[in-house]
Structures are given as C-alpha cells and as structure tokens.
C-alpha cells in the first residue's frame, strides 16, 4: 500500500497515493488540464509545457504530467500565469499550423487545439486570425505515411511509442536547436527499415502532423463504418474510412473488449484498395476457347452463367453421382456462406466432398488438438497472452503474419517481463527479444519437442499431479522418450545445442503460466498432426492447460478459416464438428434439410486435386481460393484443373485459378455484405456492409442459393441472420450465439451453448472436451523431401508482412507494393558467397518439380543451408517447387521442407 498524500487542487482537497502526478490527481478531481506531449502509455517527457500549473511556494509553473504530488501542495490550474502560458504555447502551435480546410487531414486535431485555445482565454477571432499560410504534407519519403513538418511539435510520442511499446527504432530526433527535427527513416520493408507501418505513430500524434498518405491525396473520409478485418485470423475490429463510396483505409477499434484494442497492422489499415480496384470482376464470364487469358472468356448474364453451371453440375450428378463433384469453400467468406457451401455440397450435390483451405494449413491442428484434448481449436484467448509469464512460440512469425498478436507478445515480453522461447529455423524478429532461440533444422520438430519433454522427465519438472488426475497415456510416451530421445541424439538430429534445449524446457516448466503459441511451421509437415500432439504433450506434462494465460493455441491464418471449419466446410465433419458418420447427427440434419445425407467421408482438398487429375472428380466449385498459386506442386494443380469437365470459380479478381475456369462468377467482398467471421480464438464477430457492392457483383450467399435452387433444391434466405439461426440450431457448440446478441455488442466465443452464456474463453478447465487429456508417443521421421547433391539446400516458405496469400488483395494497394514490390529469395550470406551471389542477383531456384528465377536478398535471418521465399507473387510461383507430400492424418502438404538447388542466373 502506497502512503497517501493529501493536497489541494483549486481549493479542493483530495487524497491520492504517493507517486501520483499532478495531472493524474487533477483529472481525478475533474479539472481539465490540457496536454499535448502527454501519452497515457508512455513515461511523461514534459516537453510541450502546456500542462504547466502553479503551485504555491514554487518558483514559476511546474509541469503537471511529470511532477508527483507532495503533502500539503496547493495547486492552481486556472491562474492568470497558467492561462497565459497555455495561450503562448497554443498560439505557437496554431501559428505554425497553417490554414485548415474542411478536407484537411488534421482537422480533428485542429479542432481540439482550437477548443483548448478557447479554454485558455482566446477569443474565436484570435484563434481564427492565427490560421495563416499553408502546411505541406511531405508524401514522397514513404509509400503509406505523410508528414507535415510545420505541424510537428516534437512531442516525441510517435517514436517513443515505437521504441518502448513496439520494439522498433525507425525514427528519432536529429540535430538541435532551431534545426532540431523529427527524422523519419521509413519507406523500407520491415527487415531493413524497422518500421512495420502499424500506424500507432499516427494514433499518438496530437497535431495530425503524421497521417495516412491517403488522407492527403484523397482527402477526408465522408463517413466511417465498423467492420472486421478480412486479412488474417486475428480478427481485428476496424473502422473503415469511406469517401465517395470507396474504402480508403481503416482505423483500429479502441474498445477494451475488441481483439485488437487500438492496434492494427499495415494490411488492415492500408490494404483496402482492392475493394474499389478497376480489375474487380463485375460480370459473369463464360469460357469460349482454351487458354488462360481474359479474352478466352465472354461476358454473360447471371441467368446464363448460373443456368450453365447448374446444368453442368446437375448432369455430372445425374450421370456419375454426387461424389464426382467437389466444393472448395473459402476461409475468406462468412460463416453463413461457408454453411451454405457445405449445405450445397451435402444437400444438393449429395456428397461430403467439401473442404476449405484449413486443409493446407491448420488441419493438423484440428486433428492433433482433437486427438489430445478433444477439441481442435485454440484453448485460450488472445488477451491472455498478457499475463502469461512464459510464451513458447513454435513455427510462427507473428510480427509478420499476425502483427497484432505479435504486438501482444512483444508487450508481454518487453513490459511484463514474460519469458520467451522461440523455436524456428530462421532468426525471426521475436528471436531478438527471446530468452532462448532454438534454431532447429527444418523438419525436425518431433525430435526437438520430444527432447524438451525428455528434459522435463529427466529433471523432475513434470506436474505429476496433473498427469495423474487429468491425463492418460503418459507411461507409453515416457518410455518412448526415454528410450529414443536422449539429448545427444536430439542435438544430432535438430542441430540445436543440448544446453539450449534444457534452458528452454526449464523456462517453460518453471513458469506459473506457460503458453504455447504455434503456426504453420508446426503443421505444414508430413508429420504435422504429430507435431501438434507433441506440443500438446508438453502442455499436459506441465499442467499449463485448462486455465487462463496457458494452453496451446494455433494462430489461424485467414480471417474466417476457423469459422469455415466450425460450420462444417470439411469433408469429415458436419457443422459444429459433428461427425459425418454419427447417426444421430445425420438424422437431425436430414430432417432439417429434408434430404438423405451422404454417408461416405468426403475428399480432402488435396485429394480433390488428385481426383481431378485422375477423373475421380469431374466438377469443381471453387469459392474465393487460388490453389494454382497456393497449393503445392503447381504443375499438378494446373493439370488437374485442366482435366475437369466443369470448373466454376467464384472470385473478385482474375486469379491464376480463375484463368482455368469454365465459368467465373463475380462475388462481393466482406465490406459489401453482412455476416459473421470467427477468429483464431473462437470469437464470433458480426459485420455489416460498409459500402455497396459494384453493380453486377453478388454475395456468395446469393450465388450459392441461386445455384442450389436451379439444381432442384430451393434455397432462399431473406438475410444472413436466418442462415445463422439455422446453423446455430443444428450446432450445439454455436447454439447460444444469435444475431440479436451480436447486434447488442456482446462478445461471444464458442462453445456457447445457451443464450445466457458468453462462451468458454478457456477450454478444458475441469475436464478435457473428451474427458482426459491424451499423451501420444511420437516417433521422429525425416521429411519426405531430403537434400542431396543435386538439391543441397532446404527451402522453407512462408509469409511477409506487407502481403497476403496470393497477393490478389494486397497487390492492389500501391503503398504495399511500394514497400515490397516483388519477391526475393532470402539466402544466408555465407551460402551466397559460396555461390558467387551478391545482393539482388537473379537466382535459379530449382526443385525436383521445376525451377523459377527470382532475385536474392542476403540476410542472417536464414541459417546456412536454408532459404526462404513467400508465395505472395504469381510471377515467382514458389509452389512450382513444392511437392505433394502430405501428413497422412490430415492430408496437409509439407510446404516447410523442399529440397532445392541454387544457381546464379
């Protein structure tokens, strides 16, 4: 308990804890002291001097934000000297401000300044008279940000925030005196420039000197409307800024209950130009001749297009059976639309051949976590990261792929002193602030994870009680680990020093609350599901599960991949994860949908591709996915799609996959419709339309319903709420979530079985979903792809901050392209030297399946022997190199390990 201090503010006594500042005390009392450089998240600098107040007996005025209270102080916040000082400061700021027109990006800040000036005793005329000259925003030094130096008051908030709360140092103050100014070192991609364009600097700038460039070039928005970001699986709540019907950008939502709480990343904030891009498809297209260019298609009416599709699919269904059809639904469309897609497959096509892109990323999470815990989703929520005292980050690079989650981890480490263990073959950014970085050889996860468990067993760091009471299968696992996974062997396989393995295991075990967070570095392997189970083993062995700030949480990639799985767009489960061979479930669905249900388990998406190649699948309906660019082994995919009798692609842009279609249907995007998305921590979030869809586009919901109706199964819903009600009625884990509750602003997660519950944030609290947690004895096996003399390097693929998936959305924003215009293969400088390569040289990267040419970038991020590329650029299609090796349990491809050759081009 801090000692209490009694002081007097403007004649009113109050008592506050020692250490409170005068500003805090005054605000408690209700006095409004104006501030500019004060930031609630940072240590006070006391440079603007606007908050200066008078204290009896003290010489001059004192800065309220940086002066602590002391016993008996008499503070005056409204004296003549205080007001005169405020006027001087505000006049100085306003005099440099320049005229502020209606469209001025700094209008809101200007109005606050004027209001402070009036409160300081200036008349409206005096304030207006100060507005002279023009402020100029510099727009040439960064693709996304603009700065008006005359409006910068050097409050230091922007770069202090960045340094202290974001871990980057892109900018700072240079020179001194009259030459002192803010130097922004931006315009470079993250790895070089140390700026990830998160936009926090904009949010913290009190004068609007720092703004989004679009506010300067396009002007102030007409309105803003809320939505949920359609990029990654974090599910940030945003306020979309719209002008003339076009979304220009977004601000984050600041409410405490949102996922992101004022944070947003470069894509969410700036990557909205795709919505209004001229290349948007707005007319259905029907193929007229072979080929992959736009002129191989002709524009047709919706009527003609849908009739054609319905006809083709009905024919295949009639002649060859529904199992010859397949639906690849989308992790980008809403829950309602995914539900309808799987209903189309099951009720209309009569097949379980429906899948979504979870297949190629987190299907192993679903399989592995279900096997271990009984439920395939994240066990804890994202806001529990703050409060974990040890975070084990495995195979994930959140500062690029899930930046807002990356920010939460940074905050936990930099401010709450959480320990961080990073397990990744590459030296990702978070490795720089980690306590331990285990730089394992790609593909050796099981060995390493077993090694960690070995340390826990050897050093008696197990949670024996938890193991005894809440798990089964430990003995077999212990035997396996003790028999085959001594640290010498683990070190030999993984290349990680045994001492580091011990250190990492100890940190995790010793934590009060240890959290495992993992990504595709664990799942996209031939033993992806086993990798997940190995993670689960660690949580079970230490008891870091079933309570807040702990658990095992996968970072779901797409905005609605979690939802797509939840509502049954999967071949082996119905909505709500009810099994496709569960008689009771089948009965219920059959009764509701009034059709017999298909009984054979369906094809997984990679099997659909293989099926298309060998004739097992004849018709395919692909919704908002681009497997030609994002599936492994591109040539195989191209052959497969070419072989289909009828390929229908529902899309916003003419993607590579669309170029193979027979029919292309133009769909509306998330900002143009109503629905719900479910993010990576199981939160169901509702969104309303922000702008009208281009004339000619239809929502996925409308298209699917029309198609179903034309195929003899009338499907019609007045609004998405009706679709949700249907799926919620049929899915117990979702049945408590209803639109009325979402409209009212309730924050709901599943499982939420009743309308008076808000859902379980923390899973497996008293019991695991299937009773006891299950240990699995896992065996390390080398990846299918191995290096040899011909292909001596390991290629691992992944994401970049500025771009997303196939790039169809992000490459429509000039600023994002400005930051990262084309792909580069990242090579360790040692390897590069051996190959005679210099920075930006063109390189042939070849695998057993093909080769591509791409410029190189030398970086220590890659260990020797390993190279890295993203899959965001169609011109450098890295998936022409990857192979069709799959995890047998989930049929998820091994993107993370491909043997390649490198040669200077």
């Amino acid at each position: 308990m801090k000692p209490a201090v009694t002081l007097c503010i403007d004649g009113v006594p109050l008592t506050v804890p020692a250490g409170t500042t005068l500003l805090q005390a005054a605000r408690q009392k209700g006095s409004d002291i104006p501030t500019l450089c004060f930031d609630p998240l940072l240590e006070p600098e006391g440079v603007c001097r606007l908050c200066c107040v008078a204290v009896t007996g003290m010489h001059g005025l004192v800065s309220a934000c940086s002066t602590p209270v002391s016993e008996g102080m008499e503070v005056h916040t409204e004296s003549a000297a205080v007001k005169e000082n405020q006027r001087f400061i505000l006049q100085s700021v306003l005099r440099n401000f320049g005229r502020v027109g209606h469209d001025d990006p700094a209008r809101p800040a200007y109005e606050t300044l004027c209001s402070m000036a009036r409160n300081a005793g200036m008349s409206a005329q005096e304030v207006a008279a100060l507005a002279q000259g023009e402020a100029h925003y510099l727009t040439g030094h960064d693709p996304l940000l603009a700065i008006a130096p005359d409006r910068c008051i050097q409050c230091n908030r922007c770069f202090n925030y960045c340094e202290h709360l974001h871990g980057f140092h892109p900018s700072g103050i240079v020179d001194m005196g009259g030459e002192r100014q803010l130097s922004f070192a931006m315009g470079m991609p993250l790895a070089e420039g140390q700026c990830d364009h998160c936009g926090n600097c904009i949010e913290h700038c009190p004068t609007g000197a720092l703004v989004e460039k679009w506010k300067v070039t396009r002007g102030a928005p007409d309105y803003e409307a809320p939505s949920i970001c359609t990029y990654c699986g974090t599910g940030c709540a945003i306020q979309v800024q719209v002008k003339d019907g076009v979304p220009l950008g977004a601000h984050p939502d600041f409410s405490d209950t949102s996922v992101n709480q004022g944070q947003l990343c470069v894509k969410g904030r700036f990557g909205l130009d795709f919505v209004s891009h001229p290349e948007r498809l707005t007319v259905p297209l029907l193929r007229t001749r072979p080929g992959h260019t736009r002129d191989c298609f002709r524009e047709v009416s919706w009527h003609e297009a849908l009739d054609h599709v319905a006809g083709e699919f009905s024919q295949i269904r009639a002649l060859d059976g529904g199992d010859k059809l397949a639906v690849l639904s989308s992790a980008r469309v809403s829950n309602e639309e995914n539900y309808l897609a799987q209903k189309l497959a099951r009720a209309v096509f009569h097949t379980n051949n429906v899948d979504n892109c979870a297949r190629i990323c987190h299907a192993p999470s679903v399989v592995g976590l279900t096997a271990a815990f009984g439920s395939g989703a994240a066990t804890n929520s994202l806001d529990e990261i703050d409060g974990a005292d040890c975070i084990m980050l495995i195979g994930a690079n959140p500062t690029e792929a899930h930046p807002v989650i990356g920010h939460k981890i940074k905050h936990a480490v930099l401010h709450n002193h959480a320990k961080l263990v990073v397990i990744d073959p590459r030296r990702i950014w978070l490795a720089g602030i980690a306590d331990v970085h285990l730089e394992l050889r790609a593909g050796t996860n099981i060995a390493l994870l077993n090694g960690l468990l070995r340390v826990l067993i050897e050093e008696n760091r197990l949670n024996e009680r938890f193991i005894a009471e809440r798990t089964r299968g430990f003995e077999e696992t212990r035997e396996r680990v003790m028999a085959d996974y001594d640290l010498a062997r683990v070190e030999a396989i993984t290349g990680v020093d045994a001492a580091l393995i011990r250190q990492a295991a100890r940190l995790y075990a010793a934590a009060r609350n240890g959290m495992i967070i993992y990504g595709l570095g664990i799942t996209q392997h031939t033993h992806g599901s086993s990798n997940v189970m190995a993670c689960a083993n660690l949580a079970l062995a230490t008891g870091h599960i079933g309570r807040p700030h702990s658990g095992v949480s996968p970072l779901r990639g797409q905005n609605n991949v979690q939802g797509a799985c939840d509502v049954g767009a999967l071949p082996n489960v119905l909505p709500g994860y009810q099994k496709t061979d569960d008689p009771a479930a089948l009965e219920r669905f059959s009764a509701y949908w009034k059709v017999p249900m298909p009984v054979t388990s369906g094809l997984k998406s990679c099997q659909m591709i293989h099926g298309a190649k060998n004739g097992q699948v004849k018709g395919m309906y692909i919704i908002a996915e681009d497997p030609v660019q994002t599936d492994p082994d591109t040539h195989l995919v191209e052959q497969a799609l070419s072989n289909l009798d009828c390929l229908v692609v529902q899309e916003m842009f003419f993607t590579r996959t669309a170029s193979f279609a027979d029919v292309i249907l133009p769909a509306a995007c998330a900002l143009e419709k109503e629905g719900t998305f479910t993010n990576t921590d199981r939160r169901v979030q509702h969104f309303m339309p922000v702008v009208a869809a281009p004339e000619g586009c239809r929502t996925d919901m409308d298209i699917i319903c029309e198609l179903a109706s034309r195929m003899g199964y009338p499907m019609h819903y007045d609004k998405p709420a009706q679709v949700w009600d249907e799926l919620a009625d049929l899915s117990p884990i979702l049945s408590g979530v209803r639109y009325a509750r979402l409209y009212a602003g309730e924050q709901l997660v599943w499982p939420c079985r009743t309308t008076d519950a808000t859902g379980d944030r923390v899973l497996h609290e008293n019991t695991f979903a299937h009773g006891k947690g299950v240990f699995h004895a896992l065996e390390f096996a080398a990846p299918e792809e191995s290096v040899d003399a011909a292909y001596p390097y390991l290629l691992t693929t992944g994401r970049r901050l500025e771009h997303y998936c196939n790039g169809s959305m992000t490459r429509k924003t000039e600023g994002l392209l400005g930051l990262y215009p084309h792909e580069r293969v990242e090579i360790n400088p040692q390897d590069a030297a051996g190959l005679g390569l210099q920075e930006t040289d063109l390189v042939w990267v070849g695998s057993r399946r093909g080769r591509i040419q791409v410029p190189c970038h030398l970086t220590q991020r890659c260990p020797p022997g390993t190279v890295f590329m993203s899959f965001h650029f169609a011109e450098t299609p890295v998936n022409e190199l990857t192979g069709s090796y799959y995890d047998p349990m989930s049929i998820t491809p091994e993107y993370k390990v491909t043997a390649v050759s490198l040669a200077k081009a």
Partner: protein
C-alpha cells in the same frame, strides 16, 4: 576506405561493444584518430547496443562530421561576445580572404576549414583562434597565417 583503416576502425569500435553509454567516448576517440567520424562508423557503432536511428540522433546533436575525408587544418575563430568585441568578425573575414576560403565550407583541395566557433574560453587572449585545437592570439595575424600554412603543408 583502405583495408587497414577499416580494421583499425573496427577494432576501435569493438572495444566499446555492448556499452551504449560509451558512444560519445568512442566518437571522441575516432575524432582524435581519424580527424572525422568515418562513414562506415555509424553502422558499426550498433555493436554498442544502439539502433541506427539512435546513433544518428546522438551524433547529429553534437554535430560530429561523418565523412571519409578529415579536415587537415581546422581553424576556429571565436565569435563569442568577448572576441566579437575584439573584431573577431574582421579576423574571420581576413583569414577567409587570405586563403580563398568560405567560412564554414571545407576547401576540397587543401582540406582547410575556417569557421566561426562559440566561446573557446580564452577571452584573456581575445580574439582567440584555434588552429587544430591549439589556441593562438588572433591579434598576431601574420603569425596566425604562418601557423595555418604550416599546418597545411
């Protein structure tokens, strides 16, 4: 920069590795040895545990020159009040005329820099001129010119 110079530079920086508080000490050592902060130095200084932006911020506050060509002869004519009263402005002008230099601009060929400085704390010998760090009484103009010529050769 020549290889040997780079090695020396790297060695000088490495002594302070991991000690961000020693940036200014290092800067002074570099100035003593090289007469300038070599262009490669700021990047190397990150070894001290500072970000590139921080280094730039600190060095720019103190107006450390970052270049690969040190000034061979640095002539500072004190322009503070006591020396101003002893016509230091005239002296600066005279020196610039004599050597065909512009105040504050480095003469490329001879690497001579004549500039006005703030108080050199030698007000008893005003007007004070410092030639490569050595204070001279500016009242003796011919002697001063000779001194400068000597330093340039």
């Amino acid at each position: 920069m020549e290889r040997e110079t780079i090695i020396t530079l790297e060695r000088m920086v490495a002594i302070h590795a991991g000690k961000p508080g020693e940036l200014l000490m290092l800067a002074e050592e570099l100035m003593d040895h090289f007469g300038t902060i070599p262009e490669a130095a700021p990047a190397l200084m990150q070894q001290l545990g500072l970000a590139a932006g921080e280094i730039q911020s600190i060095l720019s506050f103190y107006h450390y020159p970052v270049s690969n060509t040190p000034v061979r002869c640095r002539v500072e004519v004190c322009g503070a009040l006591s020396c101003h009263l002893k016509n230091s402005a005239d002296l600066l002008h005279a020196l610039c005329e004599t050597f065909s230099a512009e105040p504050g601009v480095i003469k490329a060929d001879s690497r001579l820099l004549i500039s006005r400085s703030e108080c050199l704390s030698h007000c008893d010998h005003a007007p004070t001129v410092s030639v490569n760090g050595e204070n001279c009484a500016g009242a003796d103009l011919p002697g001063l010119i000779a001194r400068i010529r000597e330093a340039l050769s």
